[in-house]
Amino acid sequence: MLIINDLNVSIQDKEIISGLNLEVKAGEVHAIMGPNGTGKSTLAWAIAGNDAYTVTGGSITYRGRDLLALSPEERASEGLFLGFQYPVEIPGVSMTNFIRTAINEQRKYRGLSPIAAPEFLAKMDENKKLVGIDSKLTNRSVNEGFSGGEKKKNEIFQMAMLEPTLAILDETDSGLDIDALKVVANGVNRMRSKENAIIVITHYQRLLEYIVPDFVHVLYKGRIVKSGGKELALELEEKGYAWLKN
């Protein structure tokens, strides 16, 4: 589904990702771990198409297409979802309006007519239950004044509403209490299927007890320095990253 080949990414002429390779197949869940500031979020931004992050080399192929040739909104409409490490506040725009606009733009891209109101409302209700948020939250402006945990749940809520093919979740587990963590994991697990793939970026092995990954990668200094199965996460938890740093 996603093939990243020899990728280089720079921010303001500083190279952050250097020669990164990664392949994610449909049906798989990958976890990316690694010390702070090693480029995990940068990788996510580059895949999502944030133009502050310049791809200076390599390629990203998504479902057989050159992903780098698409705008961020096209990538989203092609089924790519990014759960933000720091979700953004948009004053004055209600969650409901925001998500309906997003759904309809994606549908338009796919040649579908706007979603019917009853179907939309039913979907809202279902997913609000799924992630345990209520209408008080969805009637408010996007992320405005949401608590840290509410913002993260809201990312999962949006993911559930948009039904992506590939979801990248950047530290969606950070700052969550244990119940919220289960809620998030539950949301992600519901998305798991033969057709979909998920990349979770996390610092904690704990999340991976709930979302069991097929692969765990360690990102260090802009490259994947080690890959393994779910046991690797346990090993990292025990030993830290020092043993990988050369």
């Binding site: 948009i90 004053p91 004055g92 209600s94």
Partner: protein
Amino acid sequence: MENDQNNLLDHITQSEYKYGFVTDIEMETAPKGLNEDVIRFISARKKEPEFLLEMRLKAYHDWLRMSEPRWAHLSYQPVDYQDIYYYAAPKKKQELQSLEEVDPELLKTFEKLGISLEEQKRLTGVAVDAVFDSVSVKTTFSEILEKLGIIFCSFSEAVQRHPDLVRQYIGSVVPPNDNFFAALNTAVFSDGSFCYIPKGVRCPIELSTYFRINAAKTGQFERTLIIADEGSYVSYMEGCTAPMRDENQLHAAVVEIIAMKDAAVKYSTVQNWYPGDKEGRGGIYNFVTKRGMCRGSHSRISWTQVETGSAITWKYPSVILMGDHSTGEFYSVAVTNHHQQADTGTKMIHIGSNTRSTIVSKGISAGKSNNSYRGLVKIIKRAQNARNYSQCDSLLLGDQCGAHTFPYINVENKSAIVEHEATTSKISDDQLFYCRQRGISIENAIGLIVNGYAKEVLRHLPMEFAVEAQKFLSISLEGSVG
């Protein structure tokens, strides 16, 4: 074909005439430039009573002694007032045969607004055939209004049919020599709207110039007078929400509103005139004087404006709060993009006791534009317990535009409570990227954010205006980012 159309037009103009919406068609044009003769000519063509001619001449002589205001935060080429036709017979616009002859940019905008084909033709002056419908709609409306004793007609018609009302109220809120542009308007005004709501009548529909044929060609010097008698209510929507091209560069309108005891007037504007091209060529200069007078106690005047068009906007819809317990409101969204310039705001003059005013101004600047809020809150000595709340927000897109706030507060009575809040914010790249990552295009993301920002003002617009205003906000900011 040609002939059919002429017949059709005749038919329509006659229907209009029959229902009293339009005065007879003149064929003459006054020579370019402004002098006493031209003013006499205008007045004579319009068969005006003596008092109006006198008022025009007096305003003209005042105007000669005045100079163009320079205090606004605007810069533009000086206007050559001798290079303007001050009276042109209501010219038939060059009629186009099909929409294919219309500027494709304009059509694109129509499409985005979801304006029907027939309506598009009407607005662009393509040979009309849908007007029959509108005519019947209009008739129904005028019958409803007539039954209630509401007068709603063109200004010229009011001069002929209700000269006493006109004489009593014209210039009573905006004196002929109020300012340079008001004096010019008073001297040469062409036509406009007149509206009188009798005692105790609540006007059941939103009054809109849309329902008056010829409104599309109101011209450069429009004059509007609205009188709400005791205990009456009217909601008035100005102008046409469609993007109109106009060959006249200078517009100087005057609007006067009078609200008697317990009366309420809600005046809404969506101004979407040609803003000029991306390089700042062309575009309308819009110098407007709008003022309301809350004459009676417990009266209320509310201005809501969405200003997205014009190259230059100079307007300060104001309220003089004479009556005790009267209320003035000003809700404004002004958008400037490319090279547009807007200097707009309000004046709230508190004279009566227990008067209240509210000001909510939202400026949105993009491109290389300049957007200024200029407001005065004045509370005179005898205005006991006056209150004002002002909120002036500016939203910037990009870093080449300017936003300025000039709030003037003048309080002479210690019991007054005046609150002023101001904020400046930007649409951040993070916000745009967040929207785009969800599949929302840059343009729609800006539209979404801007409409969210302006929501507080938009909710004061009548429904049918609000929907269009939202679309305008998005459209006028197109190409401002990315």
